[in-house]
Symmetry: C2
Subunit: 340 residues, 2 copies
DNA sequence: AGGGTTTGAAAAACCGGTTCAGCAGATTTG
DNA sequence: CAAATCTGCTGAACCGGTTTTTCAAACCCT
């Protein structure tokens, strides 16, 4: 039992392929009676358009692409990507657009994937995540003329539209919260320094601690729990250890919490911990972690919408998605005096 | 600057499209000299085949599909899926096959996705994960005649080929390990009971503890950290609490560890913890968790290879991938007497 | 009644590949 | 030396849609 084509429908309806095409796409050119008859037959036969034929004829793939290149070591842990994909998917599925996913070992491979996807017309556009400062992908995409939407890039990024979150205000509220609790020495265990959003957060962090006259230090890592643990160890072992640490992702925060336990530093009495990127993980550990929370799936849906519009021909527009909010839990408290 | 087609190459080379097609696909029918000339021109023009045209003409999509339907709550945490996808991708990318990913809210939606993907010829075959006992998807796939590879299904699953792991031996070795340490009351916090691999593990577990004359109890959950925590709480609060708990995934094991900390039960002195599905998470917490480890990316690569072969026309064959190995870490030790 | 517009549908071209039948010319074969 | 086979390529059909062009019949207006 072969799958039906519009030619089959045409034969059954006693019309030509063109009439069927017009009818199925709701375009003028066929009478209402004929249209109804064709639709009924299509339905009866269980007809579905061949994505290949459609792609070939109208030039669009009906698919969008996403390439992720986190090293396997850290990739799986962060809920961020799957949540993001989940949000994107919700939007795409509704419009019958597919999502092509690729996981590459390094960034160079991404360039090749973009080229190939575009040359093969596998996708109509792509999502760009983890934007670096001076990102080679941006140039390539502009050169190819490939529609793209930057996820999490800064506002005024040359050339490509994007959707970002108001991390600056969120960082400020974290600093203010800790300062209000009485913390005077705050550390921040940041992610990869070459990422745009790390830079944005660092700048906002440095500025706000300076204004509030709080002593602060920022350590950069590769986002892995291992480096988060190492950074925590050296911070806590220093002469003047911080009384609060802000981590750039949840996995490092959990690692930091373990290090504190291992070193006999009570949380939150001796050390307050704040995690960026909230997830169930933050609520599982003991004490539950105060975190900066954001609805990532909604973020993904938002971005997907915009890329779809862009592909459909809308003007390229950037927008702010939302401001992450601080969710206080058991890992933060006023600092207790060190002597005792 | 339009993207080049084989017609462009043909014109430049002074031959017809057919000759170009033969040359590019390494098929006989053109002389070596002509072939070289055509390849050089194709390379110069940066030609890449249009996936749509190819799909339309030879009937294969050049893509495989994977649908995941874990609820968003638990989805992001487990490294399993991303690692699996990463492994699959490695294999597919080498052969220029794309991976379509869909994240659905419920299982019913999966059926629709399969139908549509197949009807639209979007994919040549699909990976079936999280196989349920009496899974409606199996019937549908057989009805559609869609090539599929079951990931993690049991050996003798009617009709569909699959690749599984030797969980039975792994379960046995865990039980033996704990028994050898001196544990006489072991609990197992299992995953969803309707999943095949849960059933397989449960059966092996029950059988082995019986043989070794160890008291055991199995509690089923939905894999979420929340339910893992709840199960742990009630187990530890019982009259005769277990001295060791085996968790069916890493996230529940971490949750269990937190509950133990919260209840003042020392790990591993009073309670030993074993996690199934090893991940960096297990090494981040304190103490690091003894875990049942498996190279998931390699598993994905293995499965991908087999589905590609199946799609290419090979006979449908099932196979065992590997036996997960127990990695002892700090969360397991001989039980200490309860009185004191 | 005759010329112009509208309507509904047919016919054909096209998208970019693959594949198959056909066909000259060179080479092998009896 | 004629017939059969092989080689290297051409021309055309085909995959399943979309889109443009063409065309006949119906309708409209003095």
């Amino acid at each position: 039992m072969k799958r039906p084509t519009i030619a089959d429908i045409a034969r059954r309806a006693g019309v030509t392929k063109s009439a069927v095409s017009f009818a199925l796409n709701g375009r003028p050119g066929v009478s209402q009676a004929t249209r109804d008859r064709i639709l009924a037959i299509a339905d009866e036969l269980g007809w579905q358009p061949s994505s290949a034929a459609r792609a070939l004829s109208d030039g669009r793939a009906g698919a969008l692409g996403l390439v992720v290149d986190r090293p396997a070591r850290t990739l799986g842990i962060e809920p961020f990507f799957i949540q993001l994909i989940s949000g994107i998917e919700g939007e795409l599925a509704a419009r019958d657009v597919a999502l092509l996913l690729q996981v590459t070992a390094d960034r160079e491979a991404q360039l090749g994937s973009f080229r190939r996807w575009w040359a093969e017309r596998r996708v109509d556009g792509i999502f760009l995540v983890e934007l670096h400062i001076d990102d080679a992908r941006v140039e390539l995409l502009k050169e190819l003329g490939m529609p793209a939407m930057v996820i999490g890039g800064p506002q005024g990024l040359a050339g490509l539209p994007g959707v970002w979150n108001n991390d600056m205000d969120a960082v400020r509220s974290v600093v203010e919260y800790l300062a209000a609790l009485g913390h005077r020495r705050i550390a921040r265990v940041a992610g990869l320094p070459e990422l745009w959003h790390t830079a944005v957060r660092t700048e906002a962090f440095e500025a706000r601690v300076h204004e509030l006259d709080v002593a602060a230090v920022t350590v950069t890592t590769d986002y892995s729990g291992e480096q988060g643990a190492r950074a925590t160890r050296s911070l806590l072992a220093s002469a003047e250890p911080p009384t609060a640490i802000v981590y750039d992702n949840d996995i490092m925060a959990v690692a930091g919490l373990s290090v504190a336990a291992e070193m006999g530093v009570a949380v939150p009495d001796r050390l307050s911990i704040v995690a960026w990127d909230d997830s169930v993980l933050c609520q599982l550990v003991h004490p539950p972690l105060t975190a900066v929370s954001l609805d990532i799936a909604a973020y993904g849906a938002n971005v997907a919408c915009r890329l779809l519009d862009l592909v459909a021909g809308a003007a390229a527009e950037s927008a702010c998605n939302a401001t992450p909010v601080l969710v206080p839990r058991g890992s933060t408290a006023p600092p207790r005096e060190r002597t005792r």
